[in-house]
């Protein structure tokens, strides 16, 4: 049971306070929290998600410069607190089209309204975006213009989430849709760790199946994969029926309207990674020679785009002088180097080389940086997962189905 929710700006200012229960949590708790953040080095991303203050337990998550802070004095499942705050952050991001201090301050009435519907007396009610949308209209230009012109409109619709009338709580019973279309996207993230010798230490794909559905009535969808056996652990949106998956490994569901995450999965034991990065650092007498080579390791069959390499040099490096034969290199003041390569050219393999001057008295580099790699491949799910087909029942004949796949680098690290 959360007693209170605060939204703090990145300077520790209370932007919003929503008391949930009869017990009023004094704002001074935010002051205490902020002192705690400062005492821990001031980096909000490094603060524990659950802290025991002398008077309350504090749940906190940090998103885009905003701290979502909730207090409780009673025992409760920790993930309920954390997950709820994550949902609040997600819903606000969706509503406000982003998340930052100004957006919250400009729209604080909407934030209050949302919190009011998402939680009563400290217990979460609904956090499903499309149900909330039916109760509180998101701020948009159209409604602003309307309110100026007519002077009457309100951003509250009078329609209530009528779960009783509908057999599925995530979908309204009488949905009309102008465009009969449904899109399925496979979005995969490749997490990998490579040792300095180029050996794959760990490699795993985390994937999500996103569906964007604009269908009238009660469409009944069945999605099947060509090779479902490679999936390691699958988590489902509440709309997915469990038995068909258990029996035949097919996803059978009545979708909510709009975009949602149908399922997420992991694929383990992958051997093929698309890109190699070969860093070489050799130090001698106060200098360090850097040489980084990037190239294609296993061709995924599609173009690899947005290739980036990023590494943080230790603070004992006095000056950095690096350049590349392809792409651009940026070195920030905190000695973070960004090398954006884009696509790999046909004629040469991109390399970055240069010289580091070390602090006086240091002979060789004491710590080696980790090279973090980013890339994007459109049209391929690297796990090898393939959609077999999507069947739709209870539907008029004409409708449009679309499939896409995309793989991005998640935590793709190369040690040096």
């Amino acid at each position: 049971m959360l007693q209170c929710i605060f939204l703090l700006s990145d300077s520790g200012e209370v932007m919003l306070e929503k008391q949930m229960t009869g017990h009023r949590v004094d704002r001074s708790i935010c002051g205490w929290f902020w002192d705690y953040v400062i005492s821990q080095g001031g980096d909000s991303t490094k603060i524990l998600p659950v802290i025991a203050s002398p008077t309350h337990y504090i749940f906190q998550i940090f998103r885009e410069g905003i701290t979502f802070l909730a207090c409780t004095q009673v025992e409760m499942p920790p993930l309920m607190g954390i997950e709820f705050l994550c949902r609040v952050a997600d819903v606000l991001t969706g509503y406000l089209g982003g998340l930052n201090e100004d957006l919250i301050k400009d729209n604080f009435i909407i934030v209050y309204e949302l919190l009011d519907e998402m939680m009563d007396n400290g217990f979460p009610l609904t956090t499903v975006p499309n149900i909330l949308r039916e109760m509180i209209a998101p701020p948009n230009i159209v409604s602003k213009v309307l309110s100026v012109v007519t002077g009457k409109s309100s951003n509250v619709s009078n329609i209530l989430p009528d779960a009783t009338a509908s057999p599925v709580p995530w979908r309204k019973s009488d949905l009309k849709s102008s465009s009969n279309e449904v899109y399925v996207d496979l979005i995969e993230e490749l997490d990998a760790i490579l040792s300095r010798e180029g050996v794959l230490v760990k490699c795993e794909v985390y994937g999500e199946v996103h569906v964007n559905s604009h269908l009238p009535g009660f469409p009944d969808l069945t999605l099947s994969f060509a090779n479902p056996s490679i999936l390691n652990d699958v988590r489902f949106h509440p709309c997915v029926r469990f038995r068909p998956w258990e029996g035949e490994q097919i996803l059978s569901f009545v979708p909510p309207d709009g975009e949602f995450k149908l399922a997420s999965y992991r694929v383990k034991k992958l051997k093929n990674i698309p890109i190699y990065v070969k860093p070489q650092l050799t130090s001698s007498s106060g200098h360090c020679r850097v040489n980084v080579l990037v190239g294609i390791r296993n061709d995924p069959g599609k173009v690899i785009e947005n290739i980036r390499v990023q590494f943080q040099l230790p603070s004992c490096v006095e000056s950095v002088d690096v350049s590349s034969n392809h792409g651009t290199v940026n070195v920030l003041a905190d000695k973070t180097c960004f090398w954006s390569i884009g696509r790999i050219p046909k004629d040469k393999s991109p390399s970055l080389s240069g010289n580091l001057v070390l602090e006086l008295g240091l002979d060789r580099l004491p710590v080696f940086p980790v090279f973090r790699v980013g890339f994007k491949i459109v049209g391929v799910a690297l796990s090898g997962l393939q959609i077999n087909k999507l069947e739709i029942k209870n539907m008029p004949a004409r409708l449009y189905k679309g499939f896409r796949a995309i793989t991005k680098a998640g935590e793709y690290e190369v040690r040096s």
Partner: protein, 842 residues
């Protein structure tokens, strides 16, 4: 009550009012608009409302505009209404008289045609939380519970709980609980059912001690019929309500194994829910259900492994942290289970340190013969990490693995390689580990000492590392050729050595070295003893003196004391006991898991329960005349600092007993403890039973030694007190004024008790154990003053009010008892005295 914003940067908003003039201005504008029905009036009102609420949000007191806001609230605009409700709920409690103004329009809105407005109005009406307005709540709530719209019913269900917190008697006297129960079992809307359940659970758990019927109702909630009814419908509920039901189900005791399998079959797909809270709640049900079936329990571990690992790698760092904490608990119980999944716990560069630390702990826990090589190789990678704290943790992890393995060969090599990295903190951490390793595996001394001997002591600055190095110098001075000389050079810098820990080790090492190589080390020992004797640190001085006298007495005895042959340590005691781990496991899916401590170890002083009571204590001021030095219990200003003291600090100051003058909000503490008691009753009972038997035995022996007599404790009389007596401060004050003193007694108190009294809270807690509640305390030693109350067992039994004056220097106490039934004052006095006599320092 406008929340003050100390220490917070003020908003930079240009529209922030600098004084009262802006608020006055707003009031004026609102008043002008109040009755207006001109087109556009709503828009202007909306702008004004927005301004008022933005002031409220940044913490400026705009309660002055209350009546104007209420005047403007007669509108059909829903957003305006919502803003107005928000404002009213925020300020109603500090302006109860003005809140009355709002009742009318809220009640009217509760009868609106639009269910949304009915719901919102009802929610706001219940959130006013003004005690003297409860009479207006009953009828809207009753009709709300019968409303045709599920939205209104759902709001009303929670409204009943809110009513209960304002006035339990009003809530219980009306027929709300029965209505909620009926709704819970029959309502077609899942959210209504969930809200009824959550309200009923909370009310019943708070009332359970008071009424027989309530306890029975509460048990009925866990009956097969109710649990099955809810579980069968579980898919209709939203994810949060599912958590609630799963939590309930985890307490259900199935009658046979078929039921267990039924429930698990029913819930299996919940493990694949997208919401991590649901997954964890389901896991809890699975684990608890199968507790008695060892085989199935193991299968459950297999089944939950994949979902947990997915949660770790797919969620936000905050979720990963919470899940990892739970995984850590499971791994402790079944390390084999995850031994092949060790790669999941490899740290990623971009993860926050708190996640990495937990992962390191996981890697340590699951290391066994099959995976040690890989894990240690991976850990060695982290030692070169940029983040020094992770680097340290990694070294410690390698050390821990070495200590729990039989085949430490390779690990020792790795550790020794760390020493060659020539980084101060790496060397320091490694030295500590090598020392521990040698204590457990003396057979490795040759390999280790060869490397350790090469370390220049100048490169080791951290006290712990230095102490470890010195220990090895002393212990293995036979193997290290130049040990006496290194010690000598270290001794030269005695005065620069800040840490007493290092100086203590230097003394001992010099002694050991002396016994092993007397001619070479004699000089060093002389220097060490001389420096030690002149040392200003008490422990160092004492140890030097002790060694000196020991040597004077008999050198061979000294050798037996300081340098006996050592046995290898088999188990280090700092590993958490399995008892505690089991305790934490019983609290799966709670905060205990995150703290890695069972609840009783950290909730002791925490504040729980219905909160009004605690807060209203702020208005308490006790009588006149005799209370000049009584600090009224719990006032926010007085305790603000104190509240924000870190718990550990508090702990310390209590432990030292030096907070005589600063009472840490005694009334607050006790009242809350009394409420908390209801929830942790079994434990506190257990403690209070266990403590006296043990304490009395040991302390009496001590007392005999110290010449303190144990007073004879009279047998406990037969008067029974209500352990859950509740009397709020205003009532206490009223009663104290009405009643006359029926009994005054003086008696001596136990000398141990006087010691315990250094910390008033000790007495509060102690008396609470005897069903006597402290309501206020104060005074300066040697004279302390306490006010207590107690109630004879039974709902409407008479109260006892006690003023207790204790003089700690003369160990005398005087009590003045006032009670509604003077015939009981003598038995109560006996009981009170015997309770007070049992007080001993805990």
């Amino acid at each position: 009550m406008a929340p003050p914003v100390p220490n917070l940067p003020k908003t930079s908003s240009p529209s922030q009012p600098s004084g009262k003039s802006e608020v006055a201005d707003l009031k004026l504008q609102l008043r002008q608009l109040a009755g207006s029905i001109a087109p556009g009036a709503d828009d202007s009102r909306r702008e004004l409302f927005k301004k008022v609420i933005s002031f409220m949000t940044v913490g400026i007191d705009v309660s002055a505009a209350f009546s104007e806001m209420v005047m403007c609230s007669a509108t059909s605009d829903v957003v305006l209404k919502k803003m107005c409700y928000l404002y009213v709920c925020n300020y109603a409690r500090s302006n109860p008289d003005l809140a009355l103004l709002t009742i009318n329009f809220l009640q009217k809105d509760c009868r609106d045609d639009d269910p949304m407005i009915r719901g919102l109005a009802l929610r706001s009406l219940c959130s006013l939380r003004v005690a003297n307005l409860v009479e207006y709540l009953v009828s809207p709530l009753t009709s709300g519970l019968r409303d045709s719209s599920p939205y209104v019913r759902m709001v009303a269900a929670i409204g009943v709980l809110k009513l209960y917190h304002i006035s339990p008697s009003t809530c219980l006297d009306s027929d709300f609980l029965a209505m909620l129960k009926a709704l819970m079992l029959n309502d077609p809307d899942a959210q209504v059912v969930a809200n009824c359940l959550s309200s009923l659970q909370e009310i019943w758990s708070l009332e359970a001690g008071n009424l027989e019927t309530v306890s029975r109702e509460r048990e009925a909630l866990l009956s097969k019929q109710v649990v099955y009814y809810l579980l069968n419908r579980i898919k209709e509920f939203n994810e949060w309500a599912q958590c609630l039901i799963l939590e309930l189900a985890s307490k259900y005791i199935p009658s046979d194994s078929n039921e267990i399998f039924d429930i698990m079959n029913l819930l299996e797909d919940r493990l694949q829910h997208a919401n991590s809270a649901v997954v964890l709640a389901t896991i809890k049900v699975f684990l608890y259900l199968t507790m008695s079936m060892t085989d199935v329990h193991q299968q459950v571990y297999e089944r939950i492994k994949a979902p947990l690992l997915t949660l770790v790698s797919s969620g936000s760092p905050e979720q990963s942290y919470a899940v990892l904490s739970h995984l850590h608990l499971l791994v402790m119980r079944a390390p084999i289970l995850f031994s092949s999944d060790y790669k999941h716990f490899y740290c990623q560069y971009s993860e926050p340190a708190y996640v990495q630390k937990l992962k390191l702990e996981m890697l340590t826990a699951i290391a066994n013969e099959s995976n040690t090589y890989e894990i240690v190789t991976e850990l060695c990678e982290y030692v070169a990490n940029v983040d020094i704290s992770i680097s340290r943790e990694s070294i410690r992890a390698v050390g821990k693995i070495a200590l729990q393995q039989y085949d430490v060969n390779a690990i020792v090599d790795r550790l020794l390689q760390f020493l060659e990295m020539e980084k101060d903190y790496v060397t320091a951490e490694t030295l500590v580990l090598v020392k521990d390793l040698l204590r457990k595996y003396p057979q490795w001394s040759h390999d280790c000492i060869a490397v350790v001997g090469n370390i220049s002591s100048k490169n080791v600055q951290e006290p712990k590392g230095k102490a470890a190095l010195i220990w090895m110098l002393g212990e293995y001075s036979n193997d290290m050729l130049d040990a006496p000389y290194i010690l000598e050079s270290l001794l030269e810098n005695w005065n620069e050595e800040q840490a007493p820990e290092v100086r203590l080790h230097l003394l001992t090492a010099a002694m050991k070295c002396f016994f092993k190589r007397p001619p070479e080390a004699q000089k060093a020992l002389g220097v060490a003893l001389a420096a030690g004797l002149a040392d200003s640190h008490q422990d160092v001085h004492d140890r030097a003196l002790f060694y000196y006298r020991l040597l004077q007495y008999d050198v061979s005895v000294a050798e037996r004391v300081v340098n006996p042959p050592k046995q290898a340590v088999s188990v280090f005691t700092d590993a958490p006991s399995s008892d505690i781990k089991d305790h934490i496991f019983d609290e799966f899916n709670t905060l205990s898991v995150l703290y890695q401590k069972p609840a009783y170890m950290f909730t002791d002083k925490e504040h729980r329960g219905p909160f009004e009571f605690a807060e209203e204590l702020g208005s308490l001021s006790l009588g006149t005349g005799s209370v000049e030095n009584v600090i009224p219990a719990q006032i926010y200003e007085a305790s603000d600092n104190d509240l924000l003291l870190s718990t550990s600090e508090k702990e310390e100051s209590r432990g030292l007993g030096n907070n005589d003058s600063v009472y840490s909000a005694p009334g607050y503490d006790t009242s809350l403890i009394s409420l908390e008691d209801k929830q942790v009753q079994p434990e506190s009972n257990f403690l209070s039973l266990a403590a006296p038997t043990m304490a009395s035995h040991t302390s009496s022996v001590l007392d005999d030694l110290l010449g303190l007599g144990t007073p004879i404790i009279p047998p406990p009389p037969t008067l029974k007190l209500n352990p859950k007596a509740v009397l709020d401060p205003s009532n206490f004050q009223r009663k104290w004024g009405q009643l006359t003193t029926s009994l005054t007694e003086e008696f001596s108190i136990n000398p141990q008790g006087v010691v315990a009294l250094k910390v008033p809270q000790a007495l509060h807690r102690h008396m609470q154990g005897h069903s006597i509640q402290c309501i206020a305390s104060g005074g300066q030693p040697p004279s302390l003053k306490f006010f207590f109350f107690a109630q004879k067992e039974g709902e409407t039994s008479p109260f006892f009010l006690v003023e207790c004056l204790i003089n700690t220097s003369s160990a005398k106490a005087q009590i003045n008892i006032k009670t509604e039934d003077p015939t009981l004052s003598q038995p109560f006095s006996t009981l009170f005295q015997s309770a007070l006599l049992l007080l001993s320092p805990s």
